[in-house]
Amino acid sequence: MKKDKLAIQIEQYFHTWYEGLHRYAFTILKDNDDAKDAVQAVFLKLWEKRDTIDEDQSVKSYLYTAVYNYCLNIKRHDKIKARYVSENSGIASDPGNELQGKEANRRIMEQIAALSPQCRLVFTKSRFEGKKYTEIAAEMGLSVKTVETQMGKALKILREKLLDLLISLIIFFLL
């Protein structure tokens, strides 16, 4: 039956792209449950439109675009922002090993402080003050492109300086 074939096909899409879509939604909404709701809603919509599916690549594009639009729409309601600020985890430290967490934080803060002034300021405003690129650009009198460049620079330097730390944290996280 065509219906079963479509159901199987959509489940295939789910297994292939769910993680990427959820992570994408999370980067926009900054909340795991909201991201979960967003991706679920988008897949339900896909199911409703299942008769119009033609090829895999356009479905992938559709899913990412739909998630993006859905998330932006949610953000416009502003309540997400309020919850993001109120959900507390401090500077994230992995549970179970407080000492490692504190040392890791110290090293990360140290490297952030060592960034060049403009780079550090942009990175700080983004990560610690939760500001969007356009907000940072307006505040600092920079172009959005410059903000993008500075953020990339910060990531590159921090990744290099903290490589051993980030790798060990990943292993620790997986345990």
């Binding site: 909404l29 594009s61 993006y68 401090g90 610690f128 003050e129 969007k132 990744r159």
Partner: protein, 327 residues
């Protein structure tokens, strides 16, 4: 439409993606790139880890995929009506159910499966209860308070019956007004955030954003963001109050906008019972903007020190701030 192959994935794009600034095409390019090789995936994970470690919010966690899949599969079948706990509202609810059933008979006539009006009761038992309503609106109830509403918000309005105090964050839906029925008065909103407080003499509605209308019979009062409307139960009249800020529910929260370090220190001293000593008086005039909600003293000073390039040292209840100057 750009094909993902034309997008260069570098640290700049990774940072953009992790910051939630990527377009759908860019997000697809990042995912394709990460899937392309083990070393790409490793770089992605390192970057993600760095973001997780410098976050002052949630860290990403993949939900239970099978549970989500099951939920999606379920929608491909007819919906099962969940049973509801009526508790002390059982008498009123039963009466309302009968009235509602009669009123909804026309609608039921058309649907394939018969639907019964379900009432949901939420009651604050401990200090505070947060709930998400069927339309995505958020409410926070402080003990003792309770709300009652129709599951799924069926009907032309989204009506919530409130006893006690509640804070509402209402999603916008112009076609379906959100109504809070507080007994003596009703409050009608379109999309907004506001606080309802009541005692034996007054009901007050403080609006944080958007606007609401308070109604009783033929009289009403429109309350806009930053204003507080008051209903006087004895005089049976509406009036406006003067207000400058809405109290945040729960804990120590701060919202600094271009605040001097001196004023920030004063607020922290008051809130946490600490003492802040400036080793260099010039640092008092440094300014910064940030929001902190239920954060520790250490965390707040970490952020201050990074933002302003100052150093701090905490000894017992005193924080010493030093440095040669700031940005």
């Amino acid at each position: 439409m750009k094909s993902p192959g034309h997008i260069q994935v570098d640290d700049e794009l990774l940072a953009k993606y992790l910051s939630g600034e990527a377009s759908p095409e860019e997000a697809m390019a990042v995912d394709d790139w990460a899937d392309a090789s083990g070393s790409n995936r490793a770089v992605f994970d390192q970057a993600a880890r760095l973001w997780a470690q410098t976050s002052n919010g949630n860290t990403w966690q993949l939900p239970d995929k099978l549970a989500v899949l099951a939920a999606i599969r379920k929608t491909q079948k007819p919906v099962k009506i969940a049973s509801v706990n009526l508790r002390r509202w059982s008498v009123a609810a039963a009466v309302l159910l009968l009235l509602a059933a009669a009123g909804f008979y026309q609608l039921l006539h058309k649907t394939a499966a018969p639907a019964v009006l379900q009432w949901v009761t939420r009651q604050a038992d401990n200090a505070e209860l947060r709930d998400t309503l069927p339309d995505g609106s958020l409410i926070t109830l402080s003990n003792p308070a309770a709300i009652r509403y129709v599951a799924g918000f069926d009907g032309n309005t989204r009506t919530v019956y409130l006893t006690g105090n509640g804070h509402f964050d209402v999603t916008s839906d112009p076609g379906k007004p959100f109504i809070v029925d507080a007994g003596d008065i009703t409050i009608k909103v379109l999309g907004t955030a506001f606080d309802v407080r009541q005692d034996s003499s007054v009901i007050t509605v403080a609006v944080a954003s958007g606007a609401v209308s308070m109604y009783r019979d033929s009289s009403n009062l429109t309350v806009k963001a930053g204003e507080t409307g008051i209903y006087d139960r004895r005089l049976q009249q509406f009036r406006m109050a003067v207000t400058d800020s809405i109290a945040q529910p729960g804990g120590k929260s701060f919202n600094f906008t271009n605040a001097s370090l001196k004023s920030i220190a004063a607020e922290l001293e008051k809130a946490y019972g600490i003492k802040v000593v400036f080793k260099n008086k010039r640092l008092e005039t440094c300014t910064m903007s940030s929001t902190f909600d239920n954060k520790s003293v250490e965390f707040i000073f970490e952020v201050i020190s990074i933002t302003l390039n100052v150093q701090y040292r905490i000894e017992k209840d005193t924080v010493y701030i030093s440095g040669s100057g700031c940005n």
